[in-house]
């Protein structure tokens, strides 16, 4: 029996067809997929904090509305993604518990602070840009519900990226102080954005299995290179410099060469010692704990409301 199921799974993967919730999958696939989707969901939820930080202080009502809508979208993405994880048997409450107890990770980028309103633009440009590089291939993920969620998410992220870039364009046409803010934010977010693609291929042991399962489509270094190649002309057009003296066009490779990422910093951030890890998780935990009485009350009310109907049976 298991052999037939396994055969069917392998065939599905081999033919680049989609695995659906009703299909049998190997335990490893299920576990890996749940972890991947959950971490992505957590990233959307935690990612609301650094951007949400500037909603109340956005300096124009139009920008405030754009930012508010963006953070709302992120909450929505979190919801689709948790639902996708649930189709694999995960439980949202348990995933939340994993997040607030620090047992599951989220994108390391959100452990950096947002220090000026320009950060909102740079997050749209670089962070959403890197996320899109990472996520576009996931629209072809072998797991159907995730792939479909990614299609919608990528569409919205592209929209957010354009809005971020447009904010930066406007700021670069503004005062010197605004241009300085954009440059400063770029300086702070450039390297952490490169870290978003994960460790170099040489130290990324799970990549091979994930690619075999159609969970991952490109290696970390391939995606990182793609992001750099995409970002350099955008930076030029914007008029900001990227904080890497080794960055230059390599005609032979047909790519930009770039300097070495500080993988020690990355390791520290992943281990929980970044500038905002404790703050982000504590914030999320507090919201969850402060809401416990509300969730209990809603459950109690739902139970009471059901009772009369049940008595009739």
């Amino acid at each position: 029996m298991t052999e037939t199921l396994e055969h069917h799974f392998d065939e599905t993967i081999a033919h680049e067809r989609r695995i659906e919730p009703r299909d049998w999958v190997p335990d490893g696939y299920r576990k890996t997929m749940i972890r991947q989707i959950a971490q992505h969901a957590h990233s959307e939820i935690i990612g609301m904090q650094p951007e949400g930080n500037w909603i109340t202080r956005a300096p124009s009502l139009r920008r405030k509305a754009i930012l508010l809508a963006k953070v709302q979208d992120e909450a929505g993405h979190g919801m689709y993604l948790y639902s996708a994880a649930e189709t694999l048997g995960a439980d949202r409450a348990e995933l939340t518990e994993m997040l607030i107890s620090g047992r599951q990770k989220y994108s390391s980028i959100f452990n950096y602070p947002t220090l000026t309103f320009a950060d909102v633009g740079v997050i749209g440009w670089l962070v959403d840009g890197a996320a899109i590089c990472n996520q576009v291939p996931l629209c072809r993920s072998s797991y159907g519900p995730y792939a479909r969620a990614m299609v919608r998410i990528c569409k919205e992220e592209s929209f957010h990226q354009r809005q971020g870039y447009e904010l930066l364009m406007t700021m670069m046409r503004g005062t010197q102080a605004q241009r300085d803010m954009v440059q400063d934010a770029t300086n702070r977010f450039w390297w952490p954005s490169l870290m978003m693609f994960g460790p170099p291929d040489a130290s990324s042991p799970n990549t091979a299995q994930s690619m075999a399962w159609g969970i991952k489509r490109h290696t970390n270094d391939e995606l990182r290179q793609r992001f750099v190649d995409m970002s350099v002309p955008q930076a030029d057009k914007l008029g900001v410099s990227l904080p890497d003296p080794e960055l230059r066009w390599n005609a032979e490779r047909g790519h930009y060469d770039f300097g070495a990422v500080d993988w020690d910093e990355f390791t520290q951030v992943v281990k929980g010692n970044g500038p905002c890890n404790v703050q982000r998780v504590a914030h999320r935990r507090k919201a969850h704990e402060d809401g416990a009485w509300v969730r209990e009350a809603a459950m109690a009310h739902a139970t009471k409301a059901k009772q009369p109907a049940e008595l009739e049976r």
């Binding site: 109340t56 509305a65 953070v71 948790y82 009350a297």
Partner: protein, 252 residues
């Protein structure tokens, strides 16, 4: 005309300041579903504020050049919102209690206002009424859930109502601005019976008592609509205006 501008300003400031207080809840809600609902409501109100402030700027350019000048460059005493929207919510019970009161009242007002003699105001009100109907229902459902839920939620809900009730009376007080705009503005006293009836129904369903408390004192009769606010507003404005004021020559 200055009266029309003043009227739009009052209705716009209600939405602007209340939206700000709702924005402060974002990432702090008890469930993800409530995060999206909250963002939605804050966004609707921000949209209403923008249209109303833009209308005010157009009707009386001496007030401010545009919606942003009005939002970011006025001082506390130039804001015309009711005091109900200024307070920081202590808990989720206060959030939904205030939202129920605010949305029920504003929906009743906007429903009448959609027949205003000013076509722009009428259109803003008609669009806003649809949004407010959702806000009211959302809040009403939560007030019922919490009033009926557990002992703790019931106690918190009742305390929330008791806390904000002194601010409710101010919503129904007519000012010189409405009096100067017959056929254009709505006398808020006229929507009291409807507002009361709906809130009473929700409270009855939730098993909660309508508080019986004196209204919050005024300054020789002057309150939010006259630019006399609570101390909370100053902190709202410090945050709201901080970036805009730090960069007076910037465009965003």
């Amino acid at each position: 005309p200055p009266s029309l501008a003043a009227y739009c300003l009052a209705l716009g400031d209600d939405a602007l300041i209340y939206s700000h207080r709702l924005q402060q809840w974002l990432t702090r809600m008890p469930e993800l579903e409530e995060e999206t609902a909250l963002a939605n409501i804050a966004l609707d109100l921000l949209g209403q504020a923008r249209m109303l402030l833009a209308r005010a700027a157009k009707a009386d350019p001496s007030l401010g050049a545009d919606e942003d000048a009005l939002a970011f460059l006025r001082e506390s005493k130039q804001f015309r919102n009711v005091r109900l929207v200024e307070r920081h919510d202590d808990d989720f019970a206060e959030l939904v209690a205030r939202l129920l009161v605010f949305a029920t009242w504003r929906l009743a007002l906007f429903t009448k206002l959609s027949a205003s003699g000013d076509p722009v105001l009428a259109a803003i009100a008609a669009k806003g009424a649809k949004e407010l109907a959702y806000h009211r229902d959302y809040a009403g459902q939560w007030v019922v859930r919490l009033g009926d839920g557990t002992g703790e939620s019931h106690a918190r809900m009742q305390r929330a109502l008791d806390t904000l009730w002194p601010l409710v009376g101010e919503l129904f007080v007519i000012t010189g601005v409405e009096q100067a705009l017959p056929g254009t503005a709505v006398d808020p006293a006229l929507v009291r019976p409807e507002t009361d009836a709906i809130i009473d129904t929700v409270l009855a369903t939730a098993g909660l008592d309508r508080p019986d408390v004196a209204p919050l004192g005024t300054l020789a009769g002057r309150a939010g609509r006259d630019g006399v606010h609570t101390e909370a507003l100053g902190y709202v404005l410090a945050e709201l205006q901080s970036v805009a004021r730090a960069h007076p020559d910037a465009t965003w």
